[in-house]
Symmetry: C2
DNA sequence: TAAACATAGTGTACCTGTTACAATTATAAA
DNA sequence: TTTATAATTGTAACAGGTACACTATGTTTA
């Protein structure tokens, strides 16, 4: 009985989403070892005795992608006895939205972005984990301006709308989107304009700097009167 | 390193909420063993190798309370290295809403309901787990008719309103509540009336029987047109 | 330098849902 | 029959969401 209890292993796995080439993409790593050697998987690793789950997720993310200081949210814990073909591994899944440019992944072909709409075969139950993460991100998005984690520091409203549309998987009305976006707490209108477009320049916006200390600082719920 | 990985223990802990004596209460068990011997705790137990987390939660609930076939929802996984004073125990918390009458707990003084507004000192981080569970229940309640898990098969709208008020911790307008409640999908008006009150009898309602198979069958989101 | 082009930017009417609010009805008890 | 208590009912104002099409501005090109 004691033996039975003691042989679980605990990992964290992290779904990292970004917008790249006009599509929603997830960061995958090609596994170097069995099981599922050669298959793609979301970054993950064992939880150490000295760290809590959030810390483990942060550390693993840093180790695998060199990304630091990002908001990670615990998603769900997956514990099917057969999810790992060899041992009993329970994994606590996290997810994050980040800017693709913040990650340096040119070093190796074994780590790369993949469109969520066209995933390769994945190791373990990672497809299920990614799907669940998309569902949660969409739910979250309906309430809070989550998408700004995906945007550059300065961005146009059209870029912001594009991000929402890619996550939600549907197109939005421009006027209604802008009306609502402009009500977002913390959105700051700048006196600068984008110069990338060869047409009419668009006004740039940014978000007020928010402290990353509090756990949900990124998610500014609209105040209820 | 391998050793370090292998010594986590995994438990499930279950927050069981009910309405009893006009207040929201949680089921607690007095611990028989160290650590925290004699302190109250929410029911929990180790996850076995052969079962997934949902199954472990169901089994533990059944063992401790004899409650079966109830909708349990995974809440959050708590993994602070210091949450257990002796070993490293990561716990996956679940919660359930049930009818107090469905549990037989007269057998022992070591298992009892406690008002969530007036909890005794609790073992481990169980106070945090209960608070988080209340928060989630309230969020859920705003979207879905969760509360019927707390109600008898046949109930009055006043009873239903009471349940919502106790969970939300605030009083609601009677007319507005009834207007909205009557729109709830699956609510059935009966041709029976309550006889408990010594005043004007109230009409009874029930919910259509719903299959418990699908994971979120209990939570009927309002359809979006 | 003028016309064409492409994207940025803007307002209104309607519908839906939410809120605030008070009088009448039905039964049991006195 | 009166009284007490809880059940039941509707409406007007307001807020928020949706649908919908044209004008403005800078760049490119002829």
């Amino acid at each position: 009985m004691f033996n039975e209890i003691k042989t679980h292993e605990i990992t964290v796995d992290i779904v990292i989403l970004t917008i790249k080439n006009n599509s929603l993409q997830v960061l995958l790593i090609k596994r170097q070892n069995e099981p599922f050697k050669g298959k793609w998987a979301i970054p993950g690793g064992y939880v150490r005795m000295s760290e809590n789950l959030d810390e483990a997720a942060m550390r693993v993310l840093k180790e695998k992608t060199n990304v630091d200081n990002i908001y990670l949210e615990q998603l769900y814990t997956f514990g099917d006895p057969l999810r790992h073909p060899i041992s009993r591994v329970i994994t606590c899944a996290y997810f994050a939205l980040i800017r693709a440019e913040d990650i340096e992944i040119t070093s190796t072909p074994d780590i790369d972005w993949h469109k969520v709409s066209n995933l390769p075969p994945l190791a373990f139950d990672h497809k299920e984990i990614i799907n669940y993460s998309l569902k949660r991100t969409r739910e979250r998005l309906e309430m809070c301006p989550v998408a700004y984690q995906l945007l550059n520091e300065k961005f146009t409203l059209t870029e912001m709308q594009k991000a929402y549309e890619l996550i939600m998987g549907k197109s939005l009305d421009k006027r209604n989107f802008r009306k609502k976006a402009l009500q977002t707490e913390g959105l700051v209108e700048l006196d600068e304009f984008s110069k990338t477009s060869s047409k009419r320049p668009a006004r740039l916006y940014k978000f007020e700097t928010i402290k990353l200390n509090s756990k949900r600082a990124h998610f500014i719920k609209k105040e209820k009167k």
